[in-house]
């Protein structure tokens, strides 16, 4: 198998991200226009100068037409992409490959989701006709399977582990409170989170990602052209993607303490970027904290912690805003909110701000001089998921 990557061949030259909110007053079009305009301005480029578009939305629209119509694009190729909750990352990945191939000079990836028009709490996939035998469990319940499995495998007291993941939520709320674009800007302490009623397994609503509307976008070009647009481009170091085959669901050797797809995507991404010690080489990481146990397991799957040690590192503050490797400095899905198609690009937006020292001072990471950021974006459930890992750097080489 070859996964050569496109290290340093493509650069991000502009980004934008709307606030993530219950945007009762904005439709999908409004969100796309707001994110796109911010991104055009960021790159100093007009829409007509962008050669191709990748439009990520899980279920707010179909085809490239809604984006072309919202932005009034003129005879441009627009590809709608969807890959569960990793849709935004997938849009960027396709845009980068298109530029790297030489087919286009510039491309835009835009992700959007208008979740709050559904009339129901949470996220609800639209039904594909089927034989009626599929599981109908919520994502919260599927990810809640992680905690008892992890506690048992590593001999961690159940209540202590519950506090550990509450600490993850608390940390992400701490970071989100310092982010004007984030949905929830209230700090939450561990005791308050632990006191909330369980909705799935041991998880309460405060262990779940916020459900928000929003949009985020990026413009990419060939690396050698980047300085035509910005003094501070981000170079794409790695783009990795794994679509799981679902065998975890039926394979009795799978123990719910790891996400195989994420581990594999991480290994591939590190190889593409030439990273050997992620904990110390990366300045920060945005990871897919859809539920608090997810972030815990990802610390191990992405090689930031040894197996069985992630909970200790979380408790020791290794991943805090001022820690050894800040994780989700923008508040993550937990606090920033999770408009499905936009989240992957929102993560990259934080890397964009932090590595360019443009984050608000109260959440600017001290490790930015390491110059490398990772984003991890997954979709699906334990045993059956897609996983994206991207790495970006402020310098070539």
């Amino acid at each position: 198998m070859s996964s050569h990557g496109i290290k340093d061949r493509v650069a991000i030259i502009g980004m934008g991200c709307t606030p993530f909110r219950e945007h009762w007053d904005k439709g999908t079009d409004d969100l796309m226009i707001d994110a796109a305009n911010e991104t055009f301005a960021s790159a100093g480029i007009a829409k007509d100068d962008i050669d191709a578009f990748w439009f990520g939305t899980a279920q707010s629209a179909m085809s490239g037409v809604p984006m072309a119509a919202a932005l009034k694009l003129n005879n441009k190729p627009v590809s709608r992409v969807e890959n569960f909750c990793a849709t935004g990352s997938e849009a960027l990945r396709q845009a980068c490959y298109a530029v790297a191939s030489g087919a286009y000079d510039t491309a835009m990836a835009l992700g959007v989701e208008k979740v709050k028009d559904a009339g129901y709490q949470g996220l609800n996939a639209f039904p594909i006709p089927n034989d009626g035998t599929n599981r109908t469990l919520t994502a919260a319940a599927m990810f809640s399977l992680v905690l008892p499995a992890y506690a048992e495998k590593y001999g961690v007291d159940k209540d202590e582990l519950r506090r550990t993941v509450a600490r993850i939520a608390s940390k992400n709320h701490h970071n989100g409170a310092r982010n004007p674009r984030a949905m929830y800007r209230r700090e939450m302490d561990v005791d308050a989170i632990c006191k909330m009623a369980a909705v799935a397994g041991q998880l309460s609503v405060m262990d779940c990602a916020g459900v928000a509307d929003g949009s985020a976008a990026a413009i990419v070009c060939r690396a050698e052209d980047a300085h035509k647009y910005t003094d501070k481009p981000l170079y794409v170091k790695a783009l990795s993607f794994v679509a799981g085959n679902g065998s975890g669901l039926i394979d009795s050797s799978y123990d719910y303490t790891t996400f195989r797809e994420c581990e594999a995507a991480g290994i591939d991404a590190y190889a593409q970027a030439g990273i050997t010690d992620p904990l110390n080489q990366l300045a920060m990481a945005e990871v897919h904290d859809c539920f608090t146990p997810t972030e815990l397991v990802l610390m191990e799957d992405l090689g930031f912690s040894e197996r069985g040690q992630g909970w200790k590192d979380v408790n020791a503050g290794v991943f805090d805003l001022g820690g050894q490797l800040p994780i989700n400095p923008d508040g993550g899905l937990k606090s920033f909110g999770h408009p499905v198609g936009a989240s992957g690009l929102r993560m990259i937006f934080e890397a964009w701000l932090q590595l360019r020292y443009e984050a608000p001072e109260e959440r600017q990471i001290r490790t930015a001089d390491r110059g490398l950021a990772l984003t991890h974006n997954l979709g699906g459930y334990p045993g059956e998921m897609v996983s994206f890992v991207g790495i970006y750097g402020s310098e070539l080489g």
Partner: protein, 466 residues
């Protein structure tokens, strides 16, 4: 010789204390009634009884005909017996028919099977019995299923030989229900009682005459029927105690009651006993059977007595009312399930109804649902079908989902590892959130998951082995 090859009853796990009804409405009540869970209907009860009857019969050949009798069919127009047929994985050459939707159809199907020339016939019957809150049927009814494998010696070993019987029919109005109504209505009780006593005595005399038996040659009398006073009155007139009494534990199972009583009797019957099964429903039907020597070696797969013992009477009355649709609690604010696709279901009959997975012939990897490409080794189209309905397993991990849509939240969900291989994340039923644990032993049961657009969505769930 023709008669019964095997007999089984299926009682749901839940019981309602009649005192709970009295406590709510004001009044008294004693004993319990059996209650089908929210995910059971007459079809699933028949499936469970049918599975037990076929298992009790050992390696008997497939029946030529399947009957399913109920007064509470899930579908009209469409045959419900074909669902039972699919869940029991009967061959397409086995014909399947509904008999309904009257109480009498249960004993009618049994009579037809006993008088047919087919080598074996599976007669299933099941009912969900209820009525408006504080009604006699709510209190006195019982939910359950029964299955009798009937045939001649080519169909299997006969445990009770059919000696004959009698049927008398008369049109009179005692109980009735319009389609879609919850409530069974009844005429003044004394009118039906008079009619039934007359019909019962006539049929009794006819049955003795046609079998050539003297009254004292009948060792046991079973009386089933929706009119309790008439049943008791006939027993008194005949001067015979009834051999099986389910009223205080199970309640009256309607179209399944006669077969349920017979199956209960056969569980403990000795050889060479003559039993008269009497049904008083829109006439009187009497079936006379004599147990054979084979009954000494007969082992029911699961006894009705054991199921009565294992019932859980902690069911709150409010939950019972909600399960039967009498009370409509606020559902979770989640989208209701979409209707199951007929063509998609049609392609996966073996999986959806029969719980048949597949096994890689080379690596033995088990696939639930069945797959064409193996997740171990990648073999393509090298699988054998693997029936898993009778497999038992262990809970590897579990969770309680208080957010997911369910007709009766919360959803209890477990990752089940099957003995001999295979894993499935699947819903667990007939338990409560505080009862389930890692390591629990479970078996599979056929359930109605939900319904949309009038389409009932059937599939399998796990339940604790008790």
């Amino acid at each position: 010789m023709r008669g019964i090859i095997s007999a089984a009853g299926y009682l749901p796990y839940w019981r309602l204390e009649r005192s709970a009804i009295g406590a709510f409405h004001g009044g008294r009540g004693s004993g319990t009634r059996s209650v089908a869970s929210y995910d059971e209907d007459s079809t699933t009860l028949a499936v469970e009884a049918g599975r037990l009857a076929l298992r009790s019969a050992g390696g008997a050949t497939a029946p030529e005909t399947l009957w399913f009798a109920t007064s509470s069919p899930t579908y009209l127009e469409k045959t419900n017996a074909t669902i039972v047929h699919a869940a029991l994985r009967l061959p397409s050459s086995t014909a399947a028919f509904d008999s309904g939707a009257a109480v009498r159809s249960g004993v009618g199907a049994l009579r037809a099977a006993l008088r047919s020339g087919e080598s074996s016939v599976l007669v299933t019957s099941a009912d969900i019995r209820t009525g408006p809150a504080n009604s006699p049927d709510e209190s006195g009814g019982g939910d359950g299923g029964a299955a009798l494998l009937v045939g001649d010696e080519t169909g299997g070993g006969i445990i009770a030989e059919y000696l004959g019987g009698a049927s008398v029919t008369r049109e009179f109005l005692d109980r009735w229900r319009a389609p879609g109504d919850l409530r069974n209505k009844a005429w003044e009780e004394r009118f039906g009682e008079t009619q039934y006593l007359d019909l019962g005595l006539q049929a009794w005399n006819d049955a003795l005459e046609s079998t050539g038996l003297a009254a004292d040659a009948i060792d046991a009398v079973l009386i089933a029927g929706p009119h309790a006073r008439a049943n008791n009155g006939l027993a008194k007139k005949l001067g015979r105690p009834v051999a099986i009494e389910h009223a205080s534990t199970v309640g009256n199972a309607g179209a399944a009651e006669a077969a349920l009583q017979l199956a209960t009797y056969l569980e403990t019957a000795e050889a060479a006993k003559t039993v008269a099964l009497i049904s008083l429903a829109d006439g009187c039907d009497i079936i006379v059977l004599r147990t054979t020597d084979a009954i000494a070696d007969y082992q029911p797969a699961r006894t009705i007595a054991g199921q009565i013992e294992a019932g859980n009477s902690a069911l709150p009355y409010a939950k019972f009312l909600a399960w039967r649709g009498v009370l409509a609690p606020n559902p979770p604010n989640r989208p209701e399930p979409a209707r199951a696709s007929a063509s998609a279901a049609g392609r996966s009959i073996d999986w959806k109804f029969g719980f048949v997975g597949s096994r890689d012939r080379e690596t033995a990897a088990v696939h639930l649902p069945p797959a064409r490409v193996s997740f171990q080794g990648g073999n393509v189209d090298d699988m054998e079908p693997l029936p898993m309905a009778d497999a038992t397993g262990t809970v590897a991990t579990f969770t309680i989902d208080r957010l997911a849509y369910s007709p009766s939240p919360p959803v209890i969900f477990a990752v089940v590892d099957f003995d001999g291989g295979g894993r499935l994340p699947v819903e667990v039923c007939d338990t409560t959130p505080d009862q389930i644990n890692v390591g629990d032993r479970v078996e599979m049961t056929f359930r109605r998951l939900n319904a949309s657009d009038g389409i009932s969505n059937y599939f399998w769930k796990a339940r604790p082995i008790r």
